[in-house]
């Protein structure tokens, strides 16, 4: 009895001593108010800079990128005469690449969990900065931080949601997300990010198992819209708080064009299922001319469509021949992401 009592006493004493000692501390804590519900933000695990963003990565010619397969997806950017490709194979492991082309400073942001790739202008209020991966997620989507102010930015909301720059919107650069084969055909002189990043990573090996093709998620989302399969890649357009998505799989294998009107904005949507790409521009010019477009069959890429005036336009919305040569169609806020992410960020999104 004495032994049993002693044991019970010890156990109780220990338990009492431990009560109330639950705590978390550290320099990794984020403070301040959020523009998004804090109970829907999750720590993804790696921590701030645990997924290392790249800055000014080594670039090589297309022939040197032996680690890439033709069907691999890349995010393509063209500034002036310089074309660059940022492969998913690299972005899957780093999520952000800070780069510049002849003084144009940008960050290629890609979230593997939402399949969303967007090129951000990293000059904020006139001051250049670089972005890093915070390790936090909202609707399973990347939250980046800028190193200038330590503010946190929601990738798909295109907005700063915490910190000194809270409420600031991010401007973007036009990209073309497509297969490596298609991008090389468009821009054979392209440069591409080398796999020699300074980090030891198995590039070419997808880091999330069967996540791309399964219907599973890793974290809760605020709204689960089941109208389309969760992981279907769709190109979404955001016009004055309304959103419309175009299913890449709904386009023809060759270049296909849709002349659309959405929320009083006339759009041209060019896409290809086989080339795994969609781009969207406004089709009303600054002089008020409203153009209609048709695809150029068996096109000599990057030229993809022609308008009713006979002008030919390339994949970046630039007129390359005809009476309007040199004119550029105005981009709209749009990017590719998994359908579930569109449904979570923009409930009620229209489906073309």
């Amino acid at each position: 009895m004495r032994v049993q009592g002693s044991a019970a006493l010890i156990t109780i004493m220990l338990s009492l001593a431990l009560v109330g000692c639950e705590n978390s501390t550290g320099t990794d804590q984020v403070t301040g108010d959020w523009l998004i519900p804090i109970d829907q933000i999750f720590d993804g695990g790696p921590g701030r800079d645990g997924i290392p963003a790249l800055t000014n990565p080594e670039l090589i010619g297309a022939a040197g990128a032996a680690y890439l397969e033709d069907a691999d997806l890349v995010i393509g950017l063209k500034i002036g005469n310089e074309a660059r490709a940022y492969p998913h194979a690299i972005l899957d492991w780093h999520e952000i690449i800070n780069d510049d082309v002849n003084g144009t400073q940008f960050s290629i942001t890609y979230c593997p969990l939402t399949g969303s790739g967007i090129a951000w202008n990293r000059v904020i209020n006139g001051t250049p900065t670089t972005f890093g991966v915070s390790g936090l997620l909202y609707n399973t989507n990347l939250i980046a931080f800028d190193r200038l102010t330590n503010s946190n930015w929601s990738q798909m909301k295109l907005q700063c949601v915490n910190g000194p720059l809270s409420g600031t919107s991010i401007s973007t650069y036009q990209i073309v997300e497509t297969t490596w084969e298609t991008w090389k055909e468009m821009y054979p002189q392209t440069k591409v990010v080398s796999s020699n990043t300074g980090h030891s990573r198995p590039y070419g090996q997808y880091p999330y198992g069967d996540y791309q093709t399964s219907g599973s998620l890793l974290f809760p989302i605020s709204n689960d819209d089941t109208r389309l399969p969760r992981k279907e890649r769709v190109h979404g357009v955001i016009v004055r708080e309304r959103t419309k998505v175009f299913r890449i799989n709904s386009f023809a294998d060759d270049i296909d064009v849709v002349n659309d009107l959405f929320n009083d904005v006339a759009l041209v949507v060019a896409g290809s299922r086989a080339k795994n790409l969609v781009v969207v521009y406004e089709r009303k010019l600054d002089d008020g001319t409203l153009l209609s477009f048709t695809p150029i069959q068996n096109a000599s890429l990057p030229v993809v469509m022609t308008d009713t005036e006979g002008t030919r336009w390339d994949i970046f919305g630039r007129a390359v021949s005809g009476q309007r040569v040199g004119t550029e169609l105005k981009p709209v806020r749009s990017y590719v992401a998994y359908w579930f992410a569109w449904g979570a960020f923009f409930p009620g999104a229209e489906i073309y």
């Binding site: 004495r2 032994v3 049993q4 002693s6 044991a7 006493l9 010890i10 156990t11 004493m13 220990l14 338990s15 001593a17 431990l18 009560v19 109330g20 000692c21 639950e22 705590n23 978390s24 501390t25 550290g26 320099t27 990794d28 804590q29 984020v30 403070t31 804090i38 109970d39 933000i41 999750f42 720590d43 993804g44 695990g45 790696p46 921590g47 701030r48 800079d49 645990g50 290392p52 963003a53 890093g132 936090l136 190193r147 300074g198 980090h199 030891s200 990573r201 198995p202 090996q205 880091p207 999330y208 198992g209 069967d210 399964s214 219907g215 599973s216 998620l217 890793l218 974290f219 809760p220």
Partner: protein
């Protein structure tokens, strides 16, 4: 009088791990719960204590079996485990395991070398295990075979936050779910021919689902865990005994909403040397370490590089 001294001694030990010792706490998710349940059955009326501190350094990043060079991330778990076993009868005994957890995460930014850190601490989960000796230990056969079953009790929090943001599941002191445990132990001695004994433990934990994301969302489930340890102890007539055992651990991937979480689960094979210091017939100190000799992980994971532990064993009765 003897019992009073024993109680005082144990209280002194526990006082050294008071609430002010913030650095002394432990982790539960991936915590050494099963591997700590290696006490044999307890003779009737005897009370055994084992108080352990374990330091677990997770410094290695592996993709499958391949080690990646990455010294930017570091995880450390501090565990304090108190196992109490009491002999209910000649063949039945009960063990209870209480835990304290501190999880630490350190990141060295590859951008500018600055270090950020986060720690979470608290009471970890507990285990209650009922043991039945199929072959009770006796001095003639020197053989013991014991089986057991019990539960892991979710005493620890699985919803700690930092700055209001829910921390990852593996940074929490607790798992937030009830688990079932099956356990078996066997040992055989060879005195006086050889001052050796061999021992083996096997255990299986089948895990439950927690609601750490709130009732309106799907739950999180840690992977089921299987462990088997086989070892040998060498007895001396002096203060020191030595042991060496091998441990194999297999976990299935964690799940969210019923689907597997990438980069969780795998197989580990460890070498565990140990030294026992026999202070008295009732009191023994043990120092041991765990060294991985083979790892095959699902996806890419930060994993244990080594552990080091100190244990105090005390028997009343």
């Amino acid at each position: 009088m003897k019992y009073k001294k024993s109680v005082v001694l144990l209280l002194l030990i526990c006082a050294g791990f008071s609430q002010s010792s913030w650095a002394q706490a432990c982790c539960s998710a991936g915590t050494p719960l099963l591997s700590s349940l290696e006490l044999p059955s307890t003779a009737r009326g005897n009370l055994q204590f084992a108080l352990t501190y374990e330091y677990n350094a997770l410094l290695d990043v592996l993709s499958g079996t391949r080690t990646l060079e990455d010294d930017t991330r570091r995880r450390v778990t501090h565990s304090v485990l108190l196992e109490t076993s009491y002999g209910l009868s000649s063949t039945f005994s009960v063990s209870a395991l209480l835990t304290l957890v501190q999880q630490e995460r350190r990141i060295v930014s590859p951008f500018d070398g600055t270090e950020s850190q986060l720690s979470a601490r608290g009471i970890g989960d507990a285990v209650v295990l009922f043991k039945h000796s199929l072959v009770p230990l006796n001095i003639f056969s020197q053989l013991e075979v014991t089986i057991g079953g019990g539960a892991k009790i979710p005493l620890g929090s699985s919803t700690l936050t930092s700055g209001g943001i829910l921390l990852p599941a593996d940074m929490q002191p607790g798992t937030g779910a009830w688990d079932g445990i099956l356990w078996a132990y066997g040992s055989k001695g060879f005195l006086p021919t050889l001052p050796l004994n061999i021992f083996a433990t096997t255990s299986y934990r089948f895990t439950g689902v927690n609601d750490r994301f709130g009732g309106e969302h799907e739950g999180y489930k840690f992977g089921n865990e299987f462990i088997v340890s086989v070892g040998v102890g060498y007895r001396t007539d002096m203060l020191l005994d030595f042991s060496l055992h091998f441990r194999f651990r297999h976990t299935t991937p964690d799940q969210f909403g019923g689907s597997g979480i990438p980069n969780t689960g795998g197989d580990w094979f460890y070498l565990i040397p140990g030294i026992n210091v026999k202070s008295s017939p009732n009191l023994t100190f043990r120092a041991s370490g765990q060294l991985p000799v083979y790892r095959n992980l699902k996806g890419t994971q930060l994993t244990t590089s080594f552990t080091a532990s100190l244990t105090i064993f005390y028997i009343l009765g």
